[in-house]
C-alpha cells in the first residue's frame, strides 16, 4: 500500500506568553496509506484536533513536515496554497451547529468550494449541489434553505457534502459524530463508509468514542499529551492493547452489555491529563501509569515497532513505552 499522507516529526506549539508555550503536538510521525481509515483517539487536550488541522494546513506547523503523495506541503499556508491543496484535502468539523454559516443557504455553503476552486457557471454548480444533497441523503430542494432549518444529523450531512463536493482524496473528520444521537451516529458513519467505498477516500477519523473508532477504522492511533503512544490495526489494538495508557483508555470505555460490565473490575486510574504547558520530562504518562519505572521519569520513550517473539505473523504495532524496549 502506498502512503498518501506522510507526517514526519510534526510539532505544533502555541505561544501563550513569555517563555510559555502549549505543546499541543510534539514530534508526531505517522503514515496514512491510500484508501485507509486511520482512527485517532485520545482524551481532550491530547492534541488530536490540532494534529488534524495542522495536516490540512489550518494551523501553521512549528516544525516537521507533512507530505501528500510524496509532495511536501508548505509549513505555513498562503492563499495560493489553500487554492491548490483544498481540492484534494478537506475537513469535516465536529460541531454541525457552529461550522455552517447561518447567513448562507445550504446551496451556497455546499457550492462554495466549486465556485472558488473550479470557476464553474452557476447552473453547473447548482446541478452538482443537487446531486450531492441526494448523495448524502437530503433532498435537492433543500438547497434554498438555511442551516437552522435542519437537525444536527442533517447539518452534519451538509458538512460532509461541503467537504466532498470537490472530490478530495483525503479528508480529516474531526469528531464528526460526537454531537449526534446514537441512532443518527450510525446513519452518518454508514454514509461515510459508503462514500469512502464509492470515492476511494482516505480518512483520518478523530473521535473519542473508542467502540465507534474501532468499528470505522482500519488502523488506530492513540495520542496522549501531544504524542503518539500506540499505533496498530484497529482490532488488534482494541482487543490486545500494549501500552498501559491504551489499556486504561479501552478499559474505561463502558460496554453496552450489563453482564460483562458486572464482571469487569473498575479500571479507573487516579489523576488527570497534565497541562501541556509544563510537559514533564521522560514519559508523559509516567505520573498516572500503574507500571511506572525509574527510567520513565527521565527518558522519553520512542515509538518503536514491536516484534512479537512467539508470533511472527502478528500485525505491525508501534508502541512508545519502556516496558517494551
Amino acid at each position: 500500500m502506498n502512503n498518501l499522507v506522510s507526517i514526519r516529526n510534526l510539532v505544533k506549539y502555541f505561544d501563550i506568553g513569555p517563555n510559555q508555550r502549549v505543546h499541543a503536538v510534539d514530534d508526531i510521525s505517522l503514515d496514512i496509506g491510500e484508501r485507509e481509515i486511520v482512527g485517532l483517539v485520545g482524551e481532550s487536550g491530547s492534541g488530536k484536533s490540532t494534529l488534524g488541522k495542522a495536516i490540512v494546513g489550518l494551523h501553521d506547523k512549528t516544525s516537521g513536515s507533512v507530505s501528500f503523495k510524496g509532495e511536501l506541503l508548505p509549513t505555513k499556508y498562503g492563499p495560493q496554497d489553500f487554492q491548490r491543496h483544498a481540492t484534494h484535502m478537506q475537513m469535516i468539523f465536529q460541531d454541525p451547529y457552529s461550522s455552517l454559516n447561518p447567513r448562507m443557504t445550504v446551496g451556497e455553503i455546499i457550492g462554495e468550494g466549486l465556485r472558488l476552486h473550479r470557476q464553474l457557471p452557476a447552473a453547473t454548480v447548482r446541478e452538482s449541489v443537487a446531486e450531492w444533497l441526494e448523495r448524502v441523503g437530503l433532498e435537492a430542494d433543500h438547497m434554498s434553505r438555511y442551516p437552522h432549518e435542519f437537525s444536527g444529523g442533517q447539518r452534519q450531512r451538509i458538512g460532509i457534502a461541503r467537504a466532498l463536493i470537490l472530490e478530495p482524496e483525503f479528508v480529516v473528520c474531526d469528531e464528526p459524530i460526537s454531537a449526534l444521537d446514537v441512532s443518527v451516529q450510525a446513519q452518518v458513519v454508514n454514509l461515510l463508509d459508503e462514500l469512502k467505498k464509492s470515492m476511494g477516500l482516505t480518512l483520518l477519523f478523530i473521535a473519542h468514542d473508542l467502540s465507534m473508532v474501532r468499528y470505522v477504522s482500519d488502523r488506530m492511533a492513540v495520542m496522549y499529551l501531544g504524542s503518539l503512544v500506540e499505533v496498530g490495526t484497529a482490532n488488534e489494538l482494541f482487543f490486545n492493547p500494549k501500552h498501559p495508557y491504551t489499556k486504561i483508555l479501552i478499559g474505561s470505555n463502558p460496554e453496552p452489555d450489563p453482564k460483562l460490565e458486572r464482571q469487569r473490575p473498575s479500571t479507573a486510574i487516579e489523576g488527570e491529563i497534565p497541562s501541556p504547558v509544563n510537559v514533564p520530562p521522560g514519559c508523559r504518562f509516567a505520573n498516572r501509569c500503574p507500571k511506572v519505572m525509574d527510567i520513565c521519569h527521565h527518558t522519553t520513550p520512542n515509538l518503536i515497532s514491536l516484534v512479537e517473539v512467539d508470533n511472527a505473523d502478528a500485525a505491525p504495532r508501534d508502541v512508545a513505552c519502556h516496558l517494551y524496549t
Binding site: V184, Q187, N190, Y215
Partner: protein, 341 residues
Amino acid sequence: MSEPILSVSDLAVEFDTYGGTVQAVRGVSFDVAPGKTLAIVGESGCGKSVTVQSIMGLIPIPPGRITAGTAMMNGVNIIGRKTVNGEDIRGGQIGMIFQDPMTSLNPTMNIGNQIAETLIVHRGYSKRKAFNRAIELLDLTKIPEPEKRAKQYPFEFSGGMLQRAMIAMAIACEPQVLIADEPTTALDVTIQAQILDLLADLQRETNMAIILITHDLGVVARMADEVLVMYAGQMVEHGGVDDIFYNSGHPYTMGLRAAMPTNQPGIDARLTPIDGSPPDLFHPPAGCGYCARCPHAMQICVDNPPPTYTLGERHETRCWLHHPDNNTQVEGINKAVGSSP
C-alpha cells in the same frame, strides 16, 4: 423490590412557545427504590431532562406547565411544592447534578462557599461550620488537598474535578434521591470511569436512590438496576437492565442496540441506523410516536396509541406487536404475558 422512595405517575409537561404548544412529556411513570439506580435513556428532545426538572421544580412556569401527574415521595406529592414538613425538597431531599460542570457553577464564588451555601440554606449551619463540612465533602468526593481546593474558584478546576465538586454539593444535605442529568457526557472516558465509580461508592455508603439520565448505553450497562427508555415524551419500555439489553420488547430499544458497535472480537456486523428523525412534539402523532421510524409499523400503530403490555415482573412496553391478535412474529420480540389497558 423494596418500597420505592420516589414514584412518579402519569407526568405530563407542556411548554407554550411562539410556534405553539410543545408536549414535551406525555404521561411518564416510574419509581425508584433506595440504593437502586434507574437510568432514563432516549435521544435529545425525548423529554428525559424535562421529566426530572419538573420533579425538581426547575422548569420555568410559564412558559412551562405541568398538566398532569404526581410525584410521591414519603407519601407526599411533591409536584408544585417547595417544602415537605418544613424541609426543602430541592437540594435537601433530592440532590441534582448537571451535565456541564463548567457552566453550572458560579464563577465568582469559591468552591467551598458554593458547597457551604447549600448547608447554610437547607440546614441552617453557621458559615464556619458549613465551610468545614464542605472541606469534608470535597474529601469524600476524593478531591486531593481539599482545604486548599475549597478556597479556589471554578476556573482553577478541571472538568472532572468540577463534576466532583458538584457531586459534593448535591450530596451535602444527604439526599434520599440523587438526580444525575448526563453527569459524564462532557467528560473523557478515563474521567467518566472515575466519576461513575465515585457515584457507585457514594450510593453504597448512603443507600441513596440515583436517577441517571444518559444516552450512553455503556454507562447504563455499568450503572443501572432498572432502565426507562423514553421516546417522543413517552415511556416505550421499562424494565430491569438485563431485560432491556437481552430481552427487549420494543423495536426502538432494539434499534438503539443495533445502531451501536458491539465490542466483540470477530463480530463486525454493519451498524443498522434508525432512519428518519423523532416526531414533531408540537403535533405529536395520534398513534405510536415511533411508528414513522419503526421497521415493523402496522396500520394500527399510526391510528392508535399502544397500550402498556407486561412482559414480566417489572418489565413493560408500549408496542402493538404484543397485542394477542398480532400474528407477525418479529425476531427478538417476545410476546407479552398480559396487558394493562
